[in-house]
Symmetry: C2
Subunit: 342 residues, 2 copies
């Protein structure tokens, strides 16, 4: 292993002071003779000199590094968000410190502290969806010495920049579409118990029904965690109803549902119609392709970085900024159009 080369060593070799070397290498306006400038640059290059960012950020009080906390990097959506965000950060010369928490508020808190003490200039937080005890986390976020942007979800009632898709609207759009296609008995499969986003999607579903005067039937609302097996379990009951369509409120939920449908020999959309959510993965795999509500992680990343960028430049307002994005309905082949009078 090679040794780390320091400013001082370069200075020594050139025969000038560290200050001069620093000045030249950072292209600061200063009066160092052209001759020495060249010499310094040459020696620095020859020795593969790379400034120690640790030392540098100590005095500069900025690291040009940002942090991201996601609940689970193995989820497609978060991975994609992380990827987009990292690219965006790099474009502006920021490195992104990606961390994955496991979803509990305690882990989130621990990671947040780690990031802060490691000197990131700001953090993106994808936290606060699960209903765990988040008092400590909330406390920490509100006392943060650096800007924070909450992405995709939020800790309720916390004054902080937020960027997210409108989950209520997504639920509404999905259901509304099914209604327009002539469906009247529409089931839904949501994670309302443990997820804020799930609750919102459910609210959207109900709004769409109410809007056209359809009854809200508790027997058509089913609960599922955001995992395939959980949805698979729940799906049997869904299929025992007289629903002609199902709103599956996440990609994994749709996958669990579909697996069960396959097994029961049901066909889509012949036997039952399905609108999925956010199914980046399933896309290619299914016959027929799934009609779904889509949220582009790239868009989320772009806006999140925008907020952060403003704060970092000190251009953020005193009040928190809230960006709400509209998801999109992508129509494919998993919904059957029913004849009007049924």
């Amino acid at each position: 292993m090679a040794n780390k080369v320091t400013l001082k060593q370069i200075a020594q070799e050139v025969g000038l002071s560290p200050s001069s070397v620093s000045l030249v290498l950072n292209n600061r306006p200063c009066r160092i003779s052209e001759e020495n400038r060249k010499l310094i640059k040459e020696v620095a290059a020859r020795n593969h000199y790379v400034p120690n960012q640790i030392a540098r950020s100590l005095v500069m009080r900025e690291s040009r590094t940002l942090g991201l906390i996601v609940p689970n990097i193995e989820s497609r959506f978060f991975a994609s968000l992380a990827g987009s965000l990292e690219k965006r950060c790099r474009e502006d010369g920021y490195a992104l410190f990606i961390t994955s928490s496991g979803g509990s508020a305690d882990d989130d808190l621990e990671l947040l502290r780690q990031l802060v003490t490691r000197g990131v200039d700001g953090v993106f937080l994808v936290v606060g969806d699960e209903f765990s005890d988040d008092r400590a986390l909330r406390e920490e976020v509100s006392h943060l010495p650096i800007p924070a942007v909450m992405v995709d979800r939020a800790i309720e009632g916390l004054e902080c920049d937020k960027v997210m898709f409108d989950h209520e609207m997504g639920g509404y759009m999905a259901t509304r579409y099914l209604i327009e296609q002539g469906h009247r008995r529409i089931a839904c499969l949501v994670n309302a118990r443990r997820s804020n986003t799930g609750r919102k999607r459910l609210a959207g579903y109900e709004r769409a029904l109410r809007e056209v005067g359809l009854p809200i039937d508790a027997r058509l609302e089913f609960e599922s965690e955001y995992y395939i097996p959980s949805a698979y379990e729940a799906s049997e009951a869904v299929l025992a109803t007289d629903a002609t369509a199902v709103f599956a409120s996440s990609d994994n939920i749709a996958l669990g549902l579909l697996k069960r449908l396959h097994e029961m020999g049901k066909s889509i959309p012949g036997d039952i119609s399905v609108v999925s959510y956010d199914n980046s993965a399933a896309d290619v795999l299914f016959e027929p392709a799934l009609t779904a509500i889509e949220q582009d992680p790239g868009v989320l990343a772009e806006h999140a970085f925008g907020c952060m960028s403003k704060r970092l430049a000190g251009r953020g307002g005193r009040r928190a900024e809230e960006v709400v994005l509209e998801p999109e309905l992508i129509v494919k082949d998993s919904v059957l159009e029913l004849t009007k009078h049924n």
Copy 2:
């Protein structure tokens, strides 16, 4: 935004010197009265004091942070690897700085430099598979001032710790299994042009054929990138052959192939048998479930961390360590057993 609290401030408030505070908070053996110890701890807690890791690692010459570079965090396999590795690192008190390069050697180099100058204590590299010009990267890696462990793939001919699955063996096992099931005309779909791992899997495929005296028929070897559309394109030609089975050398390649099969109304394994690779994603989705060569990212992570850990403790040998792991054949339902005499 709250202010950062420093050691000095705590010291001031307590009325003792910064040294004393540091000593106490780090539980160093030292002679500070029990009374003052308590006082210090209390004041530190009340002020939410968290030591500045930046300053700390400057003097300690270690940051307890590790870095990871993957080609693409949006890929299931790498995301899973990153997730496992992060958990493992955290268990030992290390934070993991995950970065995603896009796959070019230039990006890899850039990220590597970033990580090093930000003071990570070691790096995990998932680089060097694509055939891009990697001279600069190779140079950098060999002069690194910190330990590096290459994971899942390697820059050829570089003296460096390596942990990876045996890709040749994987290709061999898949093909061998097909042969055992009575298949004689076995096609393969591999990324041999742009990937070292792909080449190895192809070599394994050929070895299995040779071993039982089957001809190696270039007309049965098809090329595909590691992307679904690419495999989808290539699949038509595969299906035009008289092959009774296909070895699809990556998850995405299998997905592209399956999509085309679906479209052509072919059934698995009735019309054609398939062995896939590493298909964590497809798992749940398909009827029938895919027989595949599996490599557990968690195992990779565990061994990679093991190597790193040794180096960090100075217990690594002078020579590089190479860990080669055996993948596993998971038999499911996508391969048809042919009658013996055909």
